[in-house]
Amino acid sequence: MKYFVTGLAAAVAVLAAGAGFAANETIAVFTKNLTNPYFQAVRVGAEAAAKTLGVKIDQYIPTKPDSIPEQLSQVEDVIVKKPDAIVFIPVDYKALVPAVEKINAAGIPVVNITDRSAGGEFVSFVGANDYGIGLATATDLLKAMGGKGNVIILEGVKGALSNTDRVRGFNDALKGFPNVKLLASQPANYQRLQALQVMENLMQSFPTIDGVLAANDPMAVGAIEALEGANRKALVVGINGSKEAVELIKSGKLLASGDFNGFIQGCIGVEIAVRALRKQPTPKELILKPAVIDTTNFLSYETPVEERTCPTLDQVGAP
């Protein structure tokens, strides 16, 4: 019993010490989940900017990936703590509006990044555009196919905004290439293994597949594995611009990957938040141009996110 109390006291002390550490300004950063490398890049970017600017970051991630109620609860809890500013990626751009309104009511300045929230007041929005990236990446593929042939779409999670927009981008790109036939559009839930198995199954129905539009990189990799396993070839594109994708582009297995640059969004999001706190001018909106990583430009993406330095607002070309 004595040891239990001592241990408990020690635990309390440690926690209190950790929580009591005061920094100049604290910024709470909200991302969607622990598993998608994109959000990891956002968090790394946020931390990098924070170090340069001399502020402290608290990361908030739902323990259940993409959980709407959990992010809502986290926002409510964070408001009690009163951080100086918030950088916010809503798990769902519509469902989290009440949370943003609570942040507004509490008078905490908030910057919206990645997915544009459907409501609430923000200092600024920094984002890339799922639709635009889907469109650009698909166009890359269709051009590489010479404008003719058969393609397959591997969809992500039904119900996720990113998925809806990217697939819409794919489909719109296809409209511009009438000689390309869309054979099938099947879901693989953004998961690698599932994409592999779905691709295997689809290859049975379709002896000729020339291109694969995958809504994210893990699915693209799954498709590539399936193709290699069956000794078939096709041009494959993904979205995320992950490290793995860059390596596959380098080795020629993946044609291209749409780049969101979560790292930059994390950097700029924090920078804008800090500028707002320090009463410096901030842009109302910053849409990063959709970039597609392929064999022509992958070199600049080879540095792992942890080693990159944050570009500043001026460098990214804010108005």
Partner: protein, 328 residues
């Protein structure tokens, strides 16, 4: 779930019990699977092709390996919810070992070792700490998930030596490697369950743990054994998945646990313990794989897929309850 006070009419005292009723259940399920095949073959030309059949077999093998150890746990009227998280952690650890040392065999040892260790922990929580298996494995699942996320830090490990990858993607005599592993473990599992004293004891524990204990079965150590085996099988499955998809990420275990449990239950093993078979689990895995295969071949819309799967699972199990010897 355990019925501690009620006995079961279909369990007799003699050692070799449950054999013939299990065989009948397996046959009924084979019939169901065959029916499903016929339906799919008539709806899609691509179904009965050599490649598709091999694919289905390989996909079934992966699901079966995850579910095989789980079958033993469920036979004891327990449940292991940590299977998916166990696979994720084992795969990630094995992946980094392979990357760090370049040795596939060290990776294999790590994967199986990790899985076994987790299984052992589950077994001890259930027996020594007497925590109900549902909750113990649920808690372990969260802890493993947290550990895996922390360890991987949002990164992916990819690219393994070709020799290792053969385990998942290779062929031997035209048949995918995982199928051989599946057959091997089907044989081992069935032998263990039906022909060894230990297996018989597992059935007895599930049917009536009090009676089993009274008749001299070392219930606690057998339970630890089953959970450890379940963990070890998860470790093995993680290696084959790793070899198949050639990468490891923190979330690969996310959608694996419920399908594994569903495979066991569709295969006829009862959550109340004491009846079921490893062969049944294989057919359960086959049925679930056929459903997904069918939905892809027939291009069922994404929104319909959960619904179709749910309905088919219900129908499959309903048919099996119609044919099970009544015990109420």
């Amino acid at each position: 779930m355990n019925k501690q006070t009620t006995g079961r009419a279909d369990i007799a005292a003699p050692p070799r019990f449950g054999f013939s009723s299990n065989v009948m259940q397996v046959l009924y399920r084979l019939l169901a699977a065959a029916l499903l095949c016929m339906v799919l073959a008539s709806l899609s030309d691509a179904f009965m092709t050599e490649n598709n059949i091999l694919n289905v077999l390989r996909q079934t093998a992966l699901l079966f390996l995850m579910a095989s150890g789980l079958t033993l746990v469920i036979l004891t009227a327990g449940l292991d919810l940590s299977v998916g998280a166990n696979i994720a952690l084992s795969a990630c650890l094995a992946a980094s070992v392979i990357k760090a040392t370049g040795s596939a065999s060290l990776g294999v040892a790590t994967g199986i070792g990790c899985g076994t260790f987790v299984g052992l922990a589950n077994g001890l929580l259930v027996t020594a700490l007497r925590i109900p298996s549902f909750i113990a494995t649920y808690g372990v699942m969260w802890m493993l998930t947290g550990l895996t996320y922390f360890y991987m830090g949002g990164q992916t490990i990819h690219g393994f030596p070709p020799a290792f990858r053969q385990l998942g993607s290779g062929y031997l005599l035209g048949i995918p490697m995982p199928v051989y592993v599946m057959v091997l473990f089907l044989a081992i599992g069935t032998f263990f369950a039906q022909r060894t004293i230990w297996g018989q004891q597992v059935y007895a524990i599930g049917a009536n743990p009090v009676a089993a204990r009274l008749s001299g079965v070392p219930v606690q150590s057998r339970l630890v054994l089953v959970y450890t085996l379940s963990g070890a099988m998860a470790g093995l499955a993680s290696l084959i998945i790793l070899a198949r998809i050639n990468s490891a990420e923190g979330d690969i275990g996310e959608n694996l646990t419920l399908p594994a449990i569903a495979a066991v239950l569709v295969g006829g093993t009862s959550l109340f313990g004491g009846s079921g078979s490893v062969m049944g689990t294989l057919i359960g895995a086959l049925i679930l794989t056929l459903v997904l295969n069918g939905m892809n071949l027939l291009q069922v819309n994404a929104s319909w897929q959960p619904l179709v799967t749910g309905v088919i699972v219900l129908v499959a199990v309903w048919i099996s309850t119609l044919t099970r010897p009544s015990d109420e």
